[in-house]
Amino acid sequence: MSEAPNQIKLTINGQEVSAKPGMTVFQAAQTAGIFIPHYCYHPDLSIAGVCRMCMCEIEKNPRLQISCNTLATEGMVVRTDSPKVTETVQSVLELHLINHPLDCPICDKAGECKLQDYYKDYGLYKSRIEYESKNHKPKVVDIGSIVLDDERCILCTRCVRFTAEVTKTHELGIFNRGDRSVLRTYDEKALRNEYTGNLADICPVGALTAKEFRFKQRVWFLDRKDSVCTQCARGCNVTVSVNPQTTKLYRVEPRRNPDVNQSWMCDTGRWNVHYVGDQTRIKSPLVSLKGQWVEETWESFFKAAGQAILAQPKKVLVGLSAYMTNEEMMDALETLSQLGVSQFTWLLDEKTVEDRQAFDGILKHHDQTPNAAGFLQIMEKTKTPWMKHEEAIKKLQAKEYDHFILLGLEGVTMPGVADLLVKTPKETAVIVHATTQVALFEKASWVLPNTSSFEKSGTVVNALGILQKLQASMPWQHISRDVHALVFGIKQGNDRTVSPTARYQTVFKRFSNEAIFPGARSDWRKMPASGVNIGVVGRAEGIKYAKR
């Protein structure tokens, strides 16, 4: 048997294109940067072939073919721009639109709707339809976290395939037939999976909208930044949308990365982000006076507490949160070590990292922090001794520490961290650096506002060993300080905040120079958006690692 060739060559629109054997004409075209309009095709779902938009003309074939279901073959001559194709695409688009409502002014999808986009590219004809003759269907069908508008639905079945193939929960189906077809959940029950937000993303039109985003903001007012979700160790690639006028966070959507999250993310990562802008956010440094929180300035914290800490650095325990970026960790370790601090532990729920492979079978890891792997790697490569919780608690309870600083906490405090706090004796002064105020912090002497993951740039390493970029999509909220600023403040005894943009790039350079993360680029700006696989990450006793 002869081996299959690695590449086949075909011609699309007169351009020679290389494709891997097994690729469809659609994929071959996409690889070559030739765009083919489509509604039902989705790279991470099975082929449905029902929208009929991706028509192409293949030499020696009298019938037009859908490019999503046509295998690319050696020597094939394809046109996606011939008059015959263009005319057909235009009429198929017209058929998509004949019963579609003229809802754009009140539709959340407006501005990112594929019907609008293709009408601009292929349509621009005068409507032949009288409004009265359109089919009317229910416009508000509550299916849980998502609202369905039947009139807008073009029945591409992406959502049906998503619940069948990705979540395997099979809630959705197409009911009735012909132009009476409607999308529904079976038995009219609500969606019952933890990935429902993706349905609104993959809906190419405004039929499925998320209650969380519905009527909240016009998409053209939003600035988008590529970043990484920090709510678990998977590190799903995301795009964060913020209104630059109000600096309000409106939306987190998955960004496709076949090696990490395909095109998906869970509802927790997507919607559990209200802490970024809500009332529980810590707005200024707080000092505890007779059981009351009193607002203080950073300047006074650095003067008062900073000096107290530095007086006996050996009697300081520092907890490094796995929410911190690699760059923050490096700065914290180095700066604090220079000051004589040598006692470190990590802040996460240790139970969830006993098995780093543990996840829900789709994306969600049991470890809800984004950077435990980065912590382990940095500790190993910088040869910094550190303790797991059992030892730290033992030493805390033996009253070996005057100060316990919890650095870089974000969101609601997880059980492992709570346990540490609860077991800290009252003789030890607790200083908490966190985004969100919780009851547990009552025993702290100082509570300091941290920046959220949406406000800082840097890198994190996910459970698969991929180094990924976090990018700030909004400025530091209130008067919060990131870890860089906090440790420099302690060292300098003042609040001369370092520039948030410069610092992480400087630290990042060292990761490749000092081989802390092999394969990391030396220039942060050249780090690819899909991350860098750094392979095996640092090890700690009793922890199993994900196999790639």
């Binding site: 029902v50 929208c51 005319e87 057909t88 198929v92 029945l155 037939r177 012909g178 077809s181």
Partner: protein, 439 residues
């Protein structure tokens, strides 16, 4: 059936499918056996499966369900050595308006179908076969069910049929009333317990069909012709018919004729003679206006075309239409073409599965536009618009339902433009048959 000696039509003795059709109780196995029924099995089992396929290829037999694909070739595409089960599905979901030829076989001569399935299953190495019967055919379903029981009792079905070593289980499956389930991949979806959505091709059913296994889907009439071909040889079959249209074919004729019904004729006979001699000519001496030759989806023939058209695949193609399932619908002058088209368009709109956009949206739009013109609300621009929309639906969908809906529209506009114009000019139906407000 009395046919005179000089006729181009077959005597009962010459017929292949309908030789004994008027015999009493033909549906019972003993009567069927008395006519020589099941005698082809012995010969078939003495042959190799590939020899049977070759014989069918030689016969030139083409699928009688409507598409006219050569049956032997279809069987030849099956990958027989994958180790997967192979399924032979009999398409008895006869639902194209005007078609009622398979029904006659199912009700009157079910054993000829079972015999055809046994021989064909042996050729296609199939050990489990299904007859997917149209939901509305309740009587036919009862007859076929009974016939299957009889065939099992006599050892024609089940394990080691007649000591041949060939096993075959045959199951009758009733449809639930969807036209689309007569499309072969829609049928497969339905039989799999899913909604009757036609499937994307590739993969073709011959490679991956029912339950992902190689599958052959054949029409009732096609399968019924196989035992005769095996007994008499493929060559003998080619003595009937002409050109690429070999053998005999059942035609069901309806409409304004004196003797509507199902008739077996040699392929290639003149349509005019068929209407005049077999169907007894036009009722009440009415004048013929149009003939739909092959089921409601095929474009119509005008009076002038009927004069020269023959009942074979090639002749129909020269008139821009198809032999289809052999359902001839005769339309007299005093029936309104638009009224007829409105009914057909409504049918396709109602039966579109809704999977592909051009069909789902297009069938509804065609129906609305035809109705608008028929009811006297149309403009000349509407006729153009109707024509454009129908054209744009052709060849754009997974299955042929969009084409089936568009073809009559295109055909009627092309061949009877004056009728459309009259409805526009008259602001209603000149024959007062279409609904609407102006009359």
């Amino acid at each position: 059936m009395s046919v005179n000696a000089t006729s181009v039509f077959l005597t009962d003795e010459q017929k292949i499918l309908f030789k004994y059709i008027s015999k009493d109780n033909l549906h019972s196995i003993s009567v069927y056996e008395s006519t020589g029924g099941y005698s082809s099995l012995k010969k078939a089992f003495s042959m190799k499966p590939d020899q049977i396929i070759d014989e069918v290829k030689k016969s030139g037999l083409r699928g009688r369900g409507g598409a006219g694909f050569p049956t032997g070739n279809k069987w030849g595409f099956v990958p027989y050595h994958l180790g997967k089960p192979i399924y032979l599905l009999c398409n008895a979901d006869e639902s194209e308006p005007g078609t009622f030829k398979d029904r006659v076989i199912l009700e009157k001569n079910p054993h000829s179908l079972i015999e055809g399935i046994i021989v064909s299953s042996f050729a296609t190495r199939c050990h489990k076969s299904y007859i997917y019967i149209r939901g509305e055919y309740t009587h036919a379903a009862k007859v076929v069910e009974k016939a299957i029981e009889e065939a099992y009792a006599k050892g024609y079905l089940g394990k080691n049929i007649l000591g041949s070593g060939h096993d075959l289980d045959l199951v009758l499956h009733r449809g639930a009333g969807a036209y689309i389930c007569g499309e072969e991949t829609g049928l497969i979806s339905s039989l799999e317990g899913k909604k009757g959505y036609p499937k994307l091709k590739p993969p073709f059913p011959a490679v991956s069909g029912f339950l992902g296994c190689p599958t052959v889907v054949n029409n009732v009439e096609t399968l019924c012709a196989v035992p005769w071909i095996i007994e008499k040889g493929g060559e003998a079959y080619t003595q009937y018919g002409r050109g690429q249209s070999k053998g005999t074919k059942l035609f069901s004729i309806s409409g304004w004729v004196n003797k509507p019904g199902t008739y077996e004729v040699e392929m290639g006979v003149p349509l005019k003679d068929f209407i005049q001699d077999l169907a007894g000519g036009m009722r009440d001496g009415a004048k013929l206006k149009a003939v739909i030759p092959g089921g409601s989806s095929t474009p119509p023939l005008t009076l002038q075309e009927v004069e020269t058209a023959n009942l074979d695949y090639e002749s129909m193609t020269t008139f821009g239409t198809f032999l289809g399932s052999g359902a001839i619908i005769v339309v007299p002058e005093h029936h309104c073409i638009l009224k007829l088209l409105e009914h057909l368009s409504e049918f396709y709109w109602d039966e579109s599965c809704g999977q592909c956009t051009p069909c789902r949206e297009g069938t509804g739009w065609l129906y609305k536009m035809v109705k608008k013109i028929a009811h006297g609300h149309g403009t000349p621009a509407d006729i153009d618009s109707l024509n454009k929309t129908a054209k744009s639906m052709m060849g754009t969908t997974i299955c042929a339902l969009a084409d089936a809906a568009a073809m009559p529209v295109l055909g009627f506009i092309k061949k009877f433009p004056a009728d459309f114009q009259a409805h526009v000019d008259h602001k209603g139906c000149p024959l007062n048959q279409c609904g609407g407000s102006s009359h």
